[in-house]
């Protein structure tokens, strides 16, 4: 499900921010969640066990090509914020 490219890299940075022991476990679970049969297995478990599927989905919908058609343009939000900060002299 996770595309190669920028969103894969941002997910990797996200995982790398976790405590060391947790990173290995999360990578293993993410590998499982990437496979259709693994994902099906995880979906039978408790809500927290579904976190890897959720993280893959977060990375996927963080991709501007996917989020823009859904009405969300992060770059435009940031550009407007920057403009307003400058105009109003905020930090």
């Amino acid at each position: 499900m996770l595309a190669k490219g920028p969103d894969a890299a941002s997910l990797e940075r996200f995982i790398a921010a976790a405590p060391l022991g947790q990173q290995a476990a999360m990578r293993a679970l993410l590998a499982l969640a990437r496979r259709p049969r693994g994902a099906a297995l995880l979906s039978l478990l408790s809500p927290l066990d579904q976190l890897p599927s959720g993280l893959l989905a977060m990375a996927r919908y963080d991709d501007p090509d996917i989020s823009r058609p859904l009405g969300w343009d992060a770059a435009a939000v940031i550009a407007r914020g920057r403009r307003l900060r400058r105009a109003e002299g905020r930090p």
Binding site: A18, S46, G54, D62, G71, I78, L84
Partner: protein, 480 residues
């Protein structure tokens, strides 16, 4: 920690942490003419580098990338901020004064002086400092409009939230770093004030040990980025490292353990979110994500509050998988979401596991029942609002009435209580004036001192108590 001593600093007060507790103390004291050094483990996060992209901002602005969990039944995700502004940098900006019944309970059960009258001037002072104002219906956006409609049809009491924002344009990413610097977190309010008044603010400085000499605070040993050691000599130390890290620091220092309460009494105010698919376009990411509350069930310990975000947020939080997840996400513009928080009577603990916190928390039967009741209410709310489909955060086929602990998908944003205030030294870590029992010159001013769950968001309570501490130190009660 490196044995290399890189720097030695002299101050009158050393403050540890720049969040809701530490920043107001530093600013008020510095403006009162006190020589302050503030140590913050994290960095100053430049808004020019905010991207509104979830994975990236979580990794940069949150402690452990926001991937801190409690161990227990059920495990709970517990995100915390790390950097100038602490958790206020990435919070939703909601501002509640401490409910009167909570203050009354603290006076009655913990013997601490926290009357509404005594705290009112501190609340007013904080609210002015961080520009607290009520959200307008226009800024609240479509998500709040859906929920408001449901609440009105059910005749439930609701209101627009008060927030610390100025010039907010409803860009919907408060928890990913406000791109307009509209949210008045402590990093852009109190910290610049402290700096202007001469306080030294050190980032990348992790307090390792509080120094005590002859029963009195003497300073702090910190580790700087790169491994060098900094010693701040100060006869007064205010610890404000937050509910999870304050007990770890004090335990490392061999302090404040006499009551047996340090690291215990952890309340979390656990939360979950319910999604619904509407017929109308909602665009949940437009508007203030946390803009409306429903307090109709507050007496039962159930508070409903807004929570929303961009597609990446929804994709992570939606309680669906596979094709159903994809189908719901295709209709993202029609999705509405609202949060449910439980004022918990369960209590957990924080201990050290190497340099990391081991956070234990098991939910008791009463809180589980509150979640069941709350989820039933949320279903009623979205049905009344006209939802086409409602997505409860439970495994398929589990009714809210029958939900077990392990069925719940929980997060918590308001950890409190691990160095609780109590008038009696055998029952609390600090007294009502936030002084650590049995030691001179050592104070705690963060969420860890609040002895119970508030039932509402805690930043204003923490800031008001921190302000009261600073003012009393300036008056000489605490002998700065």
């Amino acid at each position: 920690m490196s044995a290399r001593l890189a720097q030695r600093l002299q101050a009158e007060v050393c403050v540890i942490g720049s969040g809701a507790g530490g920043a107001p103390v530093a600013a008020e004291l510095a403006e009162g003419g006190v020589r302050v050094a503030l140590l913050e483990e994290g960095a100053w996060h430049d808004p020019d580098h905010f991207t509104a992209r979830s994975p990236e901002m979580l990794a940069r602005l949150y402690r452990e990338g926001g991937q801190t969990f409690t161990l227990g039944r059920p495990p709970i995700m517990l995100p915390l901020g790390r950097g100038i502004g602490g958790t206020t940098l990435i919070n939703s900006g909601t501002c509640f004064r401490t409910p009167a019944h909570v203050l009354a309970r603290w006076q009655r059960e913990y013997g601490i002086e926290v009357s509404e009258d005594s705290l009112r001037p501190c609340f007013e002072r904080v609210e002015e400092a961080i520009s607290v104002d009520t959200v307008t219906p226009e800024l609240a956006g479509g998500n709040a409009a859906v929920v408001r409609r449901g609440a009105e049809r059910l005749r439930w009491s609701y209101g627009y939230l008060r927030r610390n924002a100025r010039g907010c344009v409803g860009s919907g990413v408060c928890t990913l770093g406000c791109p307009t610097s509209a949210k008045q977190h402590t990093g852009i309010t109190y910290i610049p004030r402290a700096q202007r008044a001469g306080a030294q603010i050190l980032t990348g400085a992790q307090a390792k040990r509080v120094l005590i000499e002859r029963g009195r605070a003497a300073g702090v040993l910190a580790r700087l980025e790169g491994g060098a050691t900094l010693e701040v000599r100060a006869p007064t130390v205010v610890v404000a490292a937050g509910t999870i890290n304050t007990p770890l620091l004090l335990k490392r220092s061999g302090l404040a353990g006499r009551s047996g309460q340090l690291g215990r009494n952890l309340s979390l105010h656990p939360a979950t979110a319910v999604f619904a698919r509407m017929d109308e376009i909602v665009d949940m990411a437009r508007g203030v994500p946390q803009s409306l509350y429903i307090d109709h069930f507050a007496e039962q310990g159930i508070m409903l509050e807004g929570s929303a975000g961009p597609p990446a947020y929804a994709a992570l939080a939606l309680p669906l998988t596979g094709a159903r997840h994809a189908e719901a996400m295709r209709a993202f513009r029609q999705l509405a979401v609202f949060g449910l928080m439980v004022s918990d009577s369960s209590r957990g603990s924080v201990a050290a596991l190497g340099s990391r916190p081991l956070i234990r928390y098991d939910m008791n039967a009463a809180d589980l029942q509150r979640f069941r009741d709350g989820l039933v209410r949320m279903r009623e709310l979205f049905s009344a609002a006209g939802a086409r489909e409602i997505y409860l955060p439970l495994p398929a086929g589990v009714d809210p009435e029958m939900a077990r602990r392990r069925d719940l998908k929980l997060m918590a944003f308001h950890p409190l209580g691990t160095a609780r205030a109590h008038a009696r030294p055998d029952q609390g870590v600090v007294d009502g004036s936030l002084a650590v029992h049995g030691l001179r010159g050592l104070y705690i001013a963060d969420g860890s001192v609040l002895p119970s769950s508030l039932g509402v968001n805690p930043q204003l309570t923490i800031m008001a108590l921190a302000t009261r501490l600073a003012l009393s130190l300036l008056e000489g009660d605490g002998s700065v």
